[in-house]
Amino acid sequence: MPLVFAGACSHAPGITGRAERADPAARDAFYAAFDGLRQALEAARPDALVVVAAEHFANFFMNNMPAFAIGMAEHYDGPIEDEAWLGIRRRRIPGDRDLSQRLITDVMQTVDVAYAEEWLFDHGIMVPLHFLTPRFDLPVIPANINCQGPPLAPLSRAYEFGRALRRACDGVPERVALIGTGGLSHWPATPNSGKINEAWDRDFLARWAANRRDDLLSYSDADTYRDAGQGGFEIRTFIAVAGAAEGATGEVLFYRPIPAFAVGCTTAVMNLAGR
């Protein structure tokens, strides 16, 4: 069944963990946008949701760091963070081992992806799920792109990872949805937390929505680090979604810098033909 949904969103822990520190009007507008994304996802009637995340040293570490990984477990637990700190209760999230295995097998035709039979979800996955699948009942297949510890995979490989995920999802009978989650420019977990380069973000999102591959892949990591901070390395998740939606264009549904959340808060979808 062709991929039924491709979207992208923010995942910063402050979105749920420090809600009271944000401007209430901005926060509520963003929460409403997240709920709109939930409705769009539900309208696609997915059987499973692939979440392309930028994991933050919760599962993968410098002792053995995969550039790309996909989960292959019956279920996952999260959040790994303190529940009060993140503002999300710990719970078990269903997976789909058999579907994971089939997707991984196909992705491996073109991408050397690692698989993981255990995975503790951190805010990078739990914050999106909190809004998009609030009952935590949709089977999730986590995927990870190393955006944390250089050397990082080139952007072109992130795009290819997305293309491989698309081919794999198109090839299974299940209705699979895909969401990428990451920050655009941001300096999380530094004294500059809250700094956001809005102009850079808007330019990136315009390139993403137009889904012009060469424009999306033209950033060097040095440029990104200078203009968008180390958090900007997470554009790989958005680029993977663009690769999965190759040939389609997208729409930025919401973008607003919310410094208390340390990121330009974003929801966006790709308009997959014929969905």
Partner: protein
Amino acid sequence: MSLYYVQKLLYQLNRDAELRRRFAADTEAVLSSYELTAEERDAVRAADIGLLYVLGVNGQLLMHYAAFRGLEWGAYLEAMREGVRRHGPVRAGVYAMVQD
């Protein structure tokens, strides 16, 4: 290159409730099983978030270690700033402080 092992300890503390319990009960025993310099051991033991930040500990790891050691958000951000004031710029990694 024992910065790697500082980060490994923080990574494992973040993942493992049993290790957090042992760390609280017998900090020295846990510290002794990682290849750390005296400066690193002292900084971890004292929850010197500012020094750990300047040494180059990954921000995602340090953020959770700060919360584990009881620093609320504002105090955690201030501890990093204070670390840079006292010890100079971040020495390793990609989490350096930048000028606004």
